[in-house]
């Protein structure tokens, strides 16, 4: 009996063992299958990854080539292009009238920018400004501050070329030195008429033209807790005199000229904004010009001379899109105090004075304007400007873009215009300017300014009224 029982248990054990073996074999086979599937998937993934890596490498090579090309383009150019049609009519004090219409001109500006390093950049502007059908070099082109600023020949003049060197970055008082031919033209509030952003540092009522110099800009925004606040101290050469006969002049390093000194200009300028009001600019300035050269182009030192000095004060405010009303506003005030030294140039007289007159000549000028945008996306803009300068008003706008130097007027000037914005980069403007001169020699440093009367005839004949209807196209890209 024991034998049978043992046999039974033994048989059951063997059978159970065989069942387990079969189950294990099945599981292993399944696992092998799964492993094979996974292997295949991994292989596929590897192939895909390799392909992706190859593609990434190709893209990387491509982006590197783009980056290399971008880095190779050390100077970036942008375009400014103006076409003007002016129609002038002048009325002289003696009543005679002269028409000068259908005057076409072009101004080409090639603006340059280079990011030299994180702390240094370069800006430049090459300009050609000429009348249609004429390449005669305008005599004023020889004045340093008017190069590229007055219509002349088809040559390109260097209107701007300067380095900005930033230091103290990230500190409480970041600073920058601007060295070279400065952004001293087309300043505020001329940008409204051109429909561009601010294109110059200084108030256009006081300064407009090319100028070589050095400017220290200190960002005082954190100091006075007001954004976009800058304090600038600048030095510039107004007129560097060169005596052609000896081919030397004190504009040249190491040379000196005891008879005629260079005109040096120093100035201090504060830029700030109205707190919590978007897109505003407030600028307050003072500058001093010493040893003003009577005529920088006169190479006869026995005839040429220094005629005195000038103090120029300015205060301006402007608001773009004031209170989101699409209305732009500006108001500027200038004060000039000339100090003639009694020297005279030829028969013209001294600094804003008659020969031997050394009394100070104080004057002021006011410039106000507005522009309103209307229509879809403010494609149309209407603008109005008015400026009034008193007797003896003098500024440094001899290089202004408008050929009549409107802001130097000793009298009153009105300008109104209608602008159509073609696209983000271009516009066309139809305008009318009317200038009534009250005193003579607007914009001239030399000679006494006199009240214009109808008795000013013959060689004394002066323009009493100037009007222009103009059409201008402005492209900046």
């Amino acid at each position: 009996m024991k034998k049978y029982i043992l046999f039974f248990f033994f048989s059951v054990a063997i059978l159970h063992s065989n069942d387990t073996k079969n189950t294990e074999q099945t599981t292993i086979q399944d696992l092998v299958k799964e492993i094979n599937i996974l292997k295949k998937e991994v292989k596929t993934l590897k192939i895909t990854q390799e392909n992706n890596l190859n593609e990434i490498e190709e893209i990387s090579d491509f982006t590197e080539s783009i980056e290399a090309n971008s880095l190779k383009d050390k100077i970036n150019f942008s375009l400014g292009f103006k076409t003007n049609l002016d129609n002038f009519s002048k009325k002289y004090a003696d009543g005679t009238k002269v028409q000068n219409s259908n005057i076409w001109s072009n101004k080409l500006m090639l603006n340059m920018k280079a990011d030299i390093s994180e702390n240094m950049n370069f800006y430049g502007r090459l300009s050609m400004y000429k009348y249609w059908g004429s390449s005669i070099i305008h005599p004023y082109t020889y004045y340093d501050n008017m190069q590229g600023r007055v219509p002349s020949d088809s040559a390109m003049y260097i209107e701007r070329a300067y380095i900005n060197w930033f230091f103290n970055k990230g500190t409480y008082l970041p600073m920058a030195l601007t060295i070279g031919r400065q952004p001293s033209s087309d300043g505020p509030s001329n940008q409204f008429k051109d429909n561009t952003s601010r294109k110059g540092t200084y108030s256009a009522l006081l300064y407009d033209g090319a100028a070589d110099g050095i400017v220290l800009t200190t960002n005082i925004s954190k100091l006075i807790h007001n954004e976009k606040s800058y304090l600038r101290i600048g030095y510039s050469k107004g007129f560097g005199y060169s005596e052609t006969a000896q081919d030397i002049g004190n504009a040249f390093v190491g040379a000196s000229n005891n008879d005629i000194k260079d005109t040096n200009v120093v100035g201090i300028f504060l830029d700030t904004t109205v707190p919590n009001v978007k897109n505003t600019l407030v600028q307050i300035s003072y500058s001093h010009m010493d040893d003003i050269v009577a005529n920088p182009l006169e190479n006869n030192s026995s005839r040429n001379t220094n005629i005195g000095s000038l103090d120029l004060y300015g205060a301006m405010f402007e608001a773009t899109n004031f209170l989101n009303t699409h209305l732009d506003l500006f108001a500027q005030l200038g004060l000039s105090i000339a100090h003639p030294n009694g020297n005279s140039y030829a028969n013209y007289g001294g600094l804003l004075s008659a020969p031997n007159d050394t009394s100070d000549k104080k004057a002021y000028s006011l410039w106000v304007g507005t522009r309103y945008g209307f229509g879809e996306k403010q494609k149309y803009k209407i603008g109005f400007e008015y400026n009034h300068g008193s007797k003896n008003w003098i500024n440094l706008t001899q290089g202004s873009f408008d050929i009549y130097n409107k802001l130097a007027t000793r009298g009153s000037a009105y300008e109104t215009y209608l602008m159509y914005v073609i696209n983000r980069h271009s516009n066309i403007r139809l305008g009318y300017v009317n200038i009534n001169y009250d005193y003579t020699r607007s914009g001239w440093f030399v000679g006494e300014s006199k009240k214009i009367t109808s008795t000013m005839i013959g060689s004394d004949r002066v323009v009493e009224n100037l009007q222009s209807i103009y059409l201008k196209m402005n492209v900046h890209f």
Binding site: N111, Y162, R232, N324
Partner: protein, 88 residues
């Protein structure tokens, strides 16, 4: 006197009517958006694409914020018309 009062009131309310640039700058910074990182057309593309707006989290902004941000980014894009001022 009445005119004077109006002028004073206008200046008191200006800050509430017209926010300064710093608000939109802060908004751009909070979204890690640098205006100078893209050209005008590229920013325009961002604001035309729902997918891209979502990517930059612009879709979470209010319509006014979106408009202000778009204006700011386009105005300060790398190829935009930048002011030319000494030392800035």
């Amino acid at each position: 006197m009445q005119e004077m009062k109006k002028i004073i009131l206008l200046f008191i309310f200006i800050p509430f009517l017209n926010a300064s640039d710093s608000n939109v700058i802060a908004l751009a910074q909070s979204l890690n958006l640098s205006a100078g990182s893209k050209a005008i057309v590229q920013w325009e593309r961002v604001f035309k694409s729902k997918k891209k707006m979502k990517r930059y989290k612009i879709n979470t902004l209010s319509p006014i914020e979106k408009i202000e941000l778009e204006e700011y980014l386009i105005e300060h894009a790398i190829d935009s018309d930048q002011p030319t001022i000494a030392g800035v």
